[in-house]
């Protein structure tokens, strides 16, 4: 099976069950590093 490029929300919640009832869109900032890399990659595909 292919390795995931980004940690999925469900995997984050597995490791941090306290986040389970949070809105993923707001709680993604828990791993701002991953969000920055995501923003960087998608931004590069944007021009």
């Amino acid at each position: 099976m292919e390795e995931q490029l980004l940690i999925s929300w469900s995997d984050i919640v597995k490791q941090h069950p306290e986040l389970a009832d949070k809105d993923p869109a707001m709680a993604m900032s828990w791993d701002i590093g991953q969000e920055m890399i995501f923003a960087y990659v998608t931004f590069l595909a944007l021009f």
């Binding site: 993604m28 920055m36 990659v41 021009f47």
Partner: protein, 390 residues
């Protein structure tokens, strides 16, 4: 509070009140000045992309010289990032010319790659799109890895430098509107992966695949927006994202309904639900779609418009969204002060009553010849007097 802080707070309040469709003390003036600002500051667009200090200086000069309530965003692009990665997409036609995108570098995504794209769009970006757009990322490890890391460093620095510019502007009492930018998935695929020609062909030749791709890409657009929201410093006001739109005015309504509207509505509703303001730049003439726009969450989205009959727009959209823009940039370049002021008066007479209108140009000013500074100053000054609510 110091006088500067007072001014800063007043301007913020005035703009955000108007965005919420409450009447402020007067019509706010938004400085929609892009790379035009580089030239106003005595630099070229090119220069400010390599040296953010110059972008900052140019913006401070605009804040100082031009009467307004808010600047829309830092205009410089991260030249260092593109250089680190060996970008093929941007054309610096001459040192004194402005940066513009070219359709030549589209066809980044081939005719038969839609299924792969839709299966895992992020993976497709990393494995296919980036190496095709950036020469350094097409090389082998470790060249590629170091280039990627260098670009990331520059990207981070660019964000920090933009933040610093916003800070120095705040210290002069000038707020900045946008915290980030997103693109509609259909525009994104068309403008940057398939080319416009390719996309119009895809509508005819592979409609199901194209639709699926737009749907698959929508969560990434949302995530990009939220990422920028999280990266912006905390603020008592909602964060604001710019969403420049491209294809709709070129599509017939049936194609708009099938390909564009579902994702557009989804994106707008998502951000509205999370108290993030999204301001599309509605390029061209959107009068065919005003009824659609009435379906957007009321008072939670805004619109920067290029063309439109102010009376019709006010009548159709005043309960749904704050309207921004509509002042013709060509008049600022080719008209007299008197003509500019007369046009501004006409816009205010139709759009200002009850609030819900922010004065700005009909498009971002990008080239030095896009507007004469003395006309901008005169017309902004006029709006700040004539636009006072009694």
């Amino acid at each position: 509070m110091s006088e500067v802080m007072n001014t800063y707070q007043e301007r913020l309040d005035r703009v955000f009140k108007t965005l919420r469709l409450e009447q402020a003390d007067r019509v706010p003036v938004l400085g929609t000045y892009g790379t035009w600002g580089a030239y106003y500051g005595g630099y070229t667009d090119s220069e400010t992309n390599w040296d953010m200090d110059k972008c900052g200086k140019a913006m401070l000069k605009m804040a100082n010289d031009i009467p307004m309530d808010m600047l829309h965003q830092p205009f410089a692009r991260p030249g260092g990032v593109y250089q680190a990665l060996g970008s093929k997409a941007f054309h610096y036609l001459s040192d004194s010319n402005i940066v513009q995108y070219s359709d030549e570098s589209a066809q980044i995504m081939k005719d038969d790659e839609y299924p792969e794209f839709s299966k895992d769009p992020f993976r497709f970006l990393v494995e296919k799109v980036l190496p095709r757009k950036y020469a350094e990322l097409a090389k082998d490890s470790p060249m590629r890895d170091l280039a990627f890391a260098k670009g990331a460093m520059k990207f981070g620095m660019f964000g920090a430098q933009k933040g610093a510019i916003k800070g120095s502007l705040a210290a002069q009492g000038m707020p900045v509107l946008f915290d980030g930018i997103i693109l509609h998935p259909m525009d994104w695929i068309a403008d940057f992966f398939r080319g416009i020609k390719g996309a119009f062909g895809d509508i005819r030749r592979r409609p199901a695949e194209f639709t699926e791709a737009i749907q698959a890409f929508t969560p990434l657009v949302i995530r990009l927006g939220m990422g920028q929201v999280h990266m912006a410093p905390p603020s008592p006001n909602p964060k604001v994202l710019l969403l420049p739109l491209h294809l709709p005015t070129m599509l017939k309504v049936a194609d708009f309904d099938k390909y564009y509207w579902p994702s557009f509505k989804m994106i707008m509703e998502f951000f509205a639900a999370h108290n993030v303001y999204v301001i599309p730049f509605y390029e061209g003439d959107w009068s065919r779609f005003y009824n659609h726009l009435q379906e957007l969450p009321a008072k939670k989205t805004m619109g920067w418009f290029e063309h439109g009959d102010p009376k019709e727009m006010k009548q159709k959209l005043q309960d749904t969204m704050c309207l921004i823009g509509l002042f013709p940039a060509t008049l600022l370049q080719y008209g007299t002060k008197e003509e500019c002021i007369a046009k501004a008066k006409e816009l205010l007479d139709n759009l200002a009553p009850g609030g819900g209108y922010i004065f700005g140009t009909d498009k971002e000013l990008i080239a030095p010849q896009d507007a004469k500074a003395e006309n901008i100053i005169a017309v902004n000054k006029f709006v700040m007097e004539y636009g006072i609510y009694k």
